[in-house]
Every structure is written in structure tokens, then in C-alpha cells.
Symmetry: C2
Subunit: 218 residues, 2 copies
DNA sequence: ATATAAATTTAGATTAATCTAAATTTATTG
DNA sequence: CAATAAATTTAGATTAATCTAAATTTATAT
């Protein structure tokens, strides 16, 4: 039996280690889960014991194949619930995260597969992140950060890196949504701010914004 | 902060004590939650401490007004999720209970009220039990057990007392669903079995069945 | 290469929930 | 109404998850 806490650690290790590819440090996990390094050490021993991860003292941790599968299944649930909340229950994209954080731990194969069908097998969640299918398969669409975009080129918004409520509300206020098309007008060398055109309007966004908005070429 | 375990105890006390009206014994709770009496005693002290219940050593426990409110809110969530699973996700009425047992603990006012609206404010769950509204109000429809029905009278099935999978599957197999009309043909004094007519068919059901099927006069 | 800093682990407690076995209280019954 | 039975509580452990403070290991920087 896997506990809710173990699931949260596994998911954190997966995300911090670039989809489970890289080794992750104790402190990184502690920061991410808002817990203490000593608590993390205890849990890493347990995850290792249970064969969810390979852990070497002082060297870091990486998920096993099984651990990766579990992580992907939790992420699938998290993102499907987010779609449900936005599409069916009138949640905004900045409201879904906390609730999905709990819903992702509900254990029922049938529940999640029926939810997937009910939502008509969505491929991306409200933040543009891909949703793994029943077998754990998914592909990242190729995307770049606005900060890496080229002047005069045209792009489409396809995702956010920061999913904090404040950033998402900023985007809402500036009418930047997934699917919105943007043209790069000017990149200011002084402060890395970027002038863009969208919805027949011209706005300037800070470097901070530019580093958290994903685009694809169109 | 209320824990999942506290919520399960509060719900059990509510149900065992006729909607929180009567005092409940330690052993009854232990049986209902499949735990030991000594564990129950510990939790009753805690619930009392937290003002969710009045507990007197050796005398039993009863919910406070606040405890009752919490119980009703959990039951509301449980039943709304059951409706969702059956109406939207193709669950059968014998499959919903365990999942709802977990979903009922998800904490989000918005989630449950939007779910309620999405389901168009259902008044009863798949087993015929009433769903409390946002303010905790609900009314039991007047219903009797099939075992108390009168020969020659006509009734409509409106609920089940036993919600076990085996009983619900028995009802399915015999085409007895909520809404089905039944006429009482004969009550056998020897074994309390009852001959009934439904769907233009005549069947005989055992006392055990008769004591777990709710009817209303039509 | 040695000292200092940073990261990590260990030691020892704490809290929630559970259990078994023993002690106590309440109920039943001859 | 005593004595036996049943119900309940207490005592003492255990497991999961967490914490603080101390010890240890690894990294960095003269
Ligand atoms: Mn979570
Ligand atoms: Mn998301
Ligand atoms: Mn429950
Ligand atoms: Mn029900």
C-alpha cells in the first residue's frame, strides 16, 4: 500500500529530476514540499526500501521504473481533475491546483479512466501541460519561453512555467490565454523586457513574465 | 483542522445515533469502523476535546450541534459524488460506495457547490437517500420497509437499507430498481417471505430482502 | 591541501492513529 | 444481592510522518 505522503514525494522527485531522468538532492525536495531535510532523508530511505527509488546516502535519489510509472499516474490524475474543474465546474485556471493536489490521490482505476472518457480524452491541462494516457504515454509539444523568442516572429501561447495564482491572474488581466497569438515587436537589452502585439494591442512584459510563458511557432 | 479519521468517526456517530439524536456506544462505533474499542475510546476523548461531541465515560457519545453540521456536510459530499459517479461516469449503484468514501473528504466549498449545480441539485443519491442542501437541510420522504407493506396495496421502490454490493446486485438481477412499482400479492406467515408483482412479473422475495427495501405508497 | 562552508544524515522527541492485554465499570441473572 | 458476564477504559507498544539540534560528509576556496 502506498501512502499519500509517499505519492507526494514521488511526484516531487519526478518533477525535480526532469521527468525522473536526473538525480535529485535532499534539499531540493525539502524546499519543494515545504518540509525539512531530515524528514526527506527518512522518506528517501523508505522509498528506497519499497523500491520506488534508488537512493545513495549523500548522493541523491532517482526514481525506479516503477516509481516513474507511479509518478506519471499521479500526474495524469492531477491534470485530468484540473480539466474537469475548469471545463465542468467553472473553476478558473488559477483555482484548480490545490484541489487537484488532493484529488490526485483518490485510488480508482475506473474513476480516472471514466473521467478521461467523460472529458473526451483531453491531451493538455488548463496550464498547457500534457496529460499522460492510460498507458502513461504523452509527448511534450515543442515550446520555447517568450524570453527566447525572436523579434518579428509570430507565436502562439501554449503553456505556463509558473502556475502561481498571481502569475495566472496577471495573464488574465492582460488577456493572455492559451491559444492567444503574439508577435514579438522589440526586446529591450537594458532590462530584458519585451514588447509584444496580441489581440490587436501592444503591451510590454517584464523579463519575469517572459521567462514563464511558453510559446510555439505558428 | 479536522482530520480524515475524525470525519469518519463523526459520520459513524451520526448514522448510528439516528441522525445524531441518540447516544452511541463505543462497541457500535468500533464495529461500524472495523476498529477496536480502545481506539474508539481514544478518539471519543479527542472529539470531545475538540467540541465535536459530548462524551461521558462508560455512558456513550452524542454529537454537538457543530458535530452534526460536520456530519451532514460529509454526507452531502458523499451522496453528491455518488450521483456524479452514476450519472456521469457510468458507475453502477453497487460500485460507488468505496470511492465516495474517499471523495467525501476532499475539502473545497466551491468544488461541492459547483458539483451540486453541475448535477442540477439532485435531491437523492443512487440508493434513494436524501442529499442535504448547502445549508444542511433535507427531508426524508416517508417510506416503509417491504416487510411492513400491506397485501393488495401498490407501492413504488424508493430506497435500500442495505447498500452492500451483493444486495444491490440481487436487486439488479431481479429487475428491482428505484422507481419500480410493486404490488403485494401474499405474505407467507411461515417464513415471512413475500410474493410481489413487478414489471408484469411475479416473484417471491425472502424476509431478508423485504427488510432491506424501502417503499412508498402510490 | 587544509580550513571553512554547505549539504546531508543521525539522534532523540512529538503527534496521530492504531493495537493487545490488563484493569475497571456497568449490566445481568440466578 | 452477590457473582458472573459484558462493555469500556487504561497502560504500554507500534508505525508513519514530522521536527530540532548535533554530528558527519562533501564541496569550495584560499
Ligand atoms: Mn498531492
Ligand atoms: Mn496543471
Ligand atoms: Mn470516508
Ligand atoms: Mn448512498
Amino acid at each position: 500500500m502506498i501512502t499519500l505522503t509517499e505519492e507526494n514525494y514521488i511526484k516531487a522527485i519526478y518533477h525535480l529530476g526532469k521527468q525522473g531522468e536526473e538525480t535529485v538532492n535532499t534539499n531540493a525536495i525539502a524546499d519543494s514540499l515545504k518540509t525539512k531535510a531530515s524528514s526527506v532523508t527518512d522518506m528517501l530511505k523508505k522509498l528506497s526500501e519499497k523500491k520506488y527509488a534508488h537512493y545513495i546516502k549523500y548522493q541523491g535519489v532517482i526514481l525506479t521504473e516503477n516509481g516513474k510509472k507511479i509518478a506519471i499516474s499521479i500526474i495524469r490524475k492531477h491534470r485530468l481533475w484540473e480539466v474537469f474543474l475548469v471545463e465542468k465546474l467553472n473553476f478558473t485556471w488559477d483555482e484548480v491546483h490545490e484541489v487537484a493536489e488532493d484529488l490526485e490521490h483518490i485510488q480508482s482505476e475506473k474513476l480516472i479512466n471514466e473521467l478521461d472518457a467523460f472529458l473526451e480524452h483531453p491531451t493538455h491541462d488548463p496550464h498547457g501541460d500534457p496529460i499522460p494516457d492510460k498507458d502513461g504515454n504523452f509527448k511534450q509539444i515543442e515550446k520555447i519561453l517568450l524570453s527566447q523568442a525572436v523579434v518579428n516572429n509570430k507565436y502562439q501561447c501554449v503553456g505556463v512555467k509558473d502556475t502561481s495564482s498571481s502569475f495566472l491572474k496577471y495573464l488574465d488581466a492582460n488577456k493572455i490565454a492559451l491559444g492567444t497569438e503574439v508577435t514579438i515587436l522589440h526586446k529591450e537589452p537594458f532590462d530584458q523586457s519585451i514588447k509584444i502585439e496580441l489581440n490587436n494591442n501592444t503591451i510590454t512584459v517584464s523579463q519575469n513574465v517572459a521567462k514563464n510563458l511558453f510559446l510555439k511557432t505558428v
